[in-house]
Symmetry: C2
Subunit: 318 residues, 2 copies
Amino acid sequence: MGVAVDNWADQVRAGDVRAISRAITAIENRDPRAVEILRSLFPSTGQAYLTGITGAPGTGKSTLVDRLAAFYRKQQQTVGIIAVDPTSPFTGGAILGDRIRMQSHATDAGIYIRSMATRGFLGGLASATGDVALLLDAAGKQIVLIETVGVGQDEIDIVRLADCTVVVLVPGLGDDVQNMKAGLMEIADIFVLNKSDREGVDRLEQQLQAMLQIVPVRDGWKPPVVRTVASENKGIEALAAAIADFRGHFQHTRERHSKKIEHWKQRLVELLEARLLERVLGSPQGEKTLHALAQEVAERKKDPYAAVSELLARAGLE
Amino acid sequence: MGVAVDNWADQVRAGDVRAISRAITAIENRDPRAVEILRSLFPSTGQAYLTGITGAPGTGKSTLVDRLAAFYRKQQQTVGIIAVDPTSPFTGGAILGDRIRMQSHATDAGIYIRSMATRGFLGGLASATGDVALLLDAAGKQIVLIETVGVGQDEIDIVRLADCTVVVLVPGLGDDVQNMKAGLMEIADIFVLNKSDREGVDRLEQQLQAMLQIVPVRDGWKPPVVRTVASENKGIEALAAAIADFRGHFQHTRERHSKKIEHWKQRLVELLEARLLERVLGSPQGEKTLHALAQEVAERKKDPYAAVSELLARAGLE
């Protein structure tokens, strides 16, 4: 490893904001130095507590995350926020939002906010988000909040990175419990009913509680339902308490340990995929061969399985 | 290839419903015979027109798809429907829905409906959906409708399989244009405003048209906006006409050809991933090694990059 990368890693460990930002950019750009830095930082990780916060657009996730971060800061905890929006960079909304959000914490060195809006990573957005979480962990953030729009396998993969998953619902948004993705129901450790001063909150909670009765209880934990009005800073303390309860419940259990192992199995498979694809397709020649084969398949001159065998053979893998 | 599989493929080509269903189950279960059948059927594919129909829960996609299918059947076209819901099998809703939907077409051999609700395919749900589309294509379905909840990378990948992509919106569902995933905006070839007898439809269309003005026109096609009330069978003919227009527009263009090649590039990469992972992790020993390494990484005894190198070395790939 070069001296430059070593210094860079040291700066990240010291919490230097510019070094952290550059490292995240390196991860996003698949800069080979990102791997060197992550390898160097890896032994310093494993200290942060990762909380995933997910919900449909319009549920007020960002405000909730900001208020929660402010709460932790008052408790003298350092906080990192990763806001993931796997839509295209078309609107550029993520970057703009970042700047606006950073302003409210601008004078506080104990908080770091970063949006990840780019999609189409070869290694997957979940994998890149996981790398950023490791980085913030190594940079000494005690709490890492991962905020994501809660739909699709991609986001479920992201949420699986977290130690604790909070699902945010809002009354009257058309996202009532019947329509909620069953996948979300299963991964929620805590439910938040945000904008709970709105009409329909009691009905939503009733529906949710009815649904929760038919979901099997996992490892002795029944997901609590917390009401918040994030814009008025209401219920934030109760949410933090629910997260602390969950953390305490699983602190020393076998379940937590096996969840960590499951997490790393998934991450290793993603890394493996990226590494193998790089081998077969990483050169201009590989890309060209892929294109030529895809053309033959599109014209039904070759079947896709034969084409894949050919790609493997060319890379010396078959 | 065995005689049994050969016969089976012949039955699929003849449109035998039981043979098709068995083959789809084989694809879902990653039965090795699925690959044999698909290889055998591949030269018979490339005839069907694939239309993807996507929209949030509650937009009435299923009804729209059913009505559209009935319309095509009246034109003497054979139809296959793949309903993809990448949530967990927890609620079992997909299978139930299937049965209910099948009943309304029960006496019609020219239509085939299948839900794919399982997630966590090693090769990806998009890939499995693509295989099922090939199968229905080989079975002589002239029109294949792929219906999916329109959010997340997974669904965007599924929609990219299609020749034509229809995005369904509904007034007053909280999914107004501002909240619509930018990714969806970019992939839509046609917009449908369903439940267009509801209040707010004019405002929704205005918003949509305003948004469309800032999206670059692709290949001379400006996405039309079609109003429907699927439950009353209104606007279905106009939608079918818009799809036919789109089909005509791209029938003989270079764009259509390059889209097909892009499609196959993506599919080949997915197949490649699945094949390589199988090689490294496909044995009980591989699975065991992965678990042991994930444990070492979770305990910070090894970094993830070193663990991946070890997996590759054990599979003779490094």
